[in-house]
Subunit: 353 residues, 2 copies
Amino acid sequence: MVSFGQLSDNPAIPARSVDWQDDALVLIDQTLLPEQVRLLHLKAYRPVVDAIKRLSVRGAPSIGVAGAFGVAIAFRELQGDTDGFSRAVNELRLARPTAVNLARAVDRVAANASGGFDVMLKEALAIRDEEIAASWSMGVYGSDLLIELGGNRPQRLMTICNTGGLAAVERGTALGVIETMLERGLLEEALPLETRPLLQGGRLGAPFRLIVDSAGPFLLSRGAADAVLVGADRVAANGDTANKVGTFSLALGARHAGVPFIVVAPESTIDLDTPSGDMIEIEDRGAAEVVAVRSTTVAPPGTDAINPAFDITPCDLITAVVTDRRVVRLDLGEKLSEIPHGPTRGHPPSDRR
Amino acid sequence: MVSFGQLSDNPAIPARSVDWQDDALVLIDQTLLPEQVRLLHLKAYRPVVDAIKRLSVRGAPSIGVAGAFGVAIAFRELQGDTDGFSRAVNELRLARPTAVNLARAVDRVAANASGGFDVMLKEALAIRDEEIAASWSMGVYGSDLLIELGGNRPQRLMTICNTGGLAAVERGTALGVIETMLERGLLEEALPLETRPLLQGGRLGAPFRLIVDSAGPFLLSRGAADAVLVGADRVAANGDTANKVGTFSLALGARHAGVPFIVVAPESTIDLDTPSGDMIEIEDRGAAEVVAVRSTTVAPPGTDAINPAFDITPCDLITAVVTDRRVVRLDLGEKLSEIPHGPTRGHPPSDRR
């Protein structure tokens, strides 16, 4: 579900896709979108694990924040059962393997266990706020880069998967950049891919046309877009990027068309401990997601499938990695391990905080 | 709908997806598969035009044969109304723009109008029989090429869209080659892409796993297949190939992975009058196919879409074009206009004729 503009347009949808309210983790159940907007209020850790596994919460930053609150919830629930708490932390940590944000956020909150629930909750809230600030900052860094590469004129921007506020607590990664371009009057059209198997394609508060995933590279070859922007689940030290399956073929298409291919991800998604994409585990989510679209069966019973949820785009196909603290131009030989962090730029409007 | 093995496995399904029986054009209504097998018996030309437009019949060779019978039907129906017949021929010819087989088969039957209905029907039956013979022959030429390229061992073959008997009257183009490999004991696994937006993915009578379209190039990069086989709606003189959208990104993936990318199409799909892919009209089938999967809505109401039904794969990404009469190795600099035709090889088993 591409959610650009959606959080503010629909009064039924809260400003943040993942938040803490009334002693509970509150999530928009993304498995029900776009038909239904239902909020989950979770006060026990197992439902948090399930929500992550079932994809009620999606997108690396949002998954990380959900996991962070999950650790505090587990601590409160298990009241001094140290072994139980360790197991809970482990379950949360392993609920999904690809996004680095999850393990990182879980570990960061768990490291505060000696301080008790209040200290852990404070840490989880800090992670939430950092992700929100990061979204706004990525929008500024990314938009400035697009102007540098494509000129100060309205641009046509292709993107894949859920990279809006649903994925990044508020605003988004790649879609956050597109939103900043819109606010600057520099968006001609957004071109989101529908993103099978789970069809996160959808609603934008801006001029856009939806396309099936496999049409993306062809439309690039016909000059349909000025740049491609994608999010990330994990960026390895060399720049190899794990993201929603289909990202790699879009990168091949961008290279063939001579169009910039830009990865937009917060620093929390950069994993310098993983040297390259070969070391990133790719989750296979099984045949069921492929053989049915929601309740509609699209293949005969018993059909087997290969269903990698992510793919790896090699660094040599990536023009730049944009984070909330810097732009790293891989195409110019810059390295993630060498380019220093700059300031966090931009900030949420005061009425949203 | 990938139909490999299906025509013979299911007694409700006739051996041929397009045929002439009891003075009528008989079609399997492919819009209802896989849920329902329903035959259409058409005795008037307008329903034939509609069946082609609605995609009740799909795949360049099958569309051509349906159009051929449609012309004879129109002649019988319009009894001496020369202007009406001309208009009918034109409607049939333009029912879909991309597959060259349709215009070619329609023109060939219409050129026999002076001979009356019986002569026109005979010509349409000849086109049907030629397409069936071509399928068997492509299987032999294609399978021999795979052995030459990959060795005389079981191979893993990736393919896209409906290229089986449903697309080619009987047996198929790319899937016909896969079937021949199976019969020769040389098929390790088939890897069909599901083929959005209409999800022609599906049932094979052989070891296979279904994959979403956007996962194809990534799985190639991980060594999942030994070769990619695709059909075609039109092959231009320079080898540029129009085929189901997604073919181009699969070709980019094959090139990146160093895997052969083979176009399988009968001579009736080769269009030497069209110099290159730039001249091929690409049908945009509108937003409705993208925003819903059968009856399931996957994007909010009013969502716009770009929906090219086909894409163009440039000749420099194609290893070889395999027809029913020859193999043209584009990768070795061979040209479609220069390589002579050889014999039609292989033939349907006698019990099927």
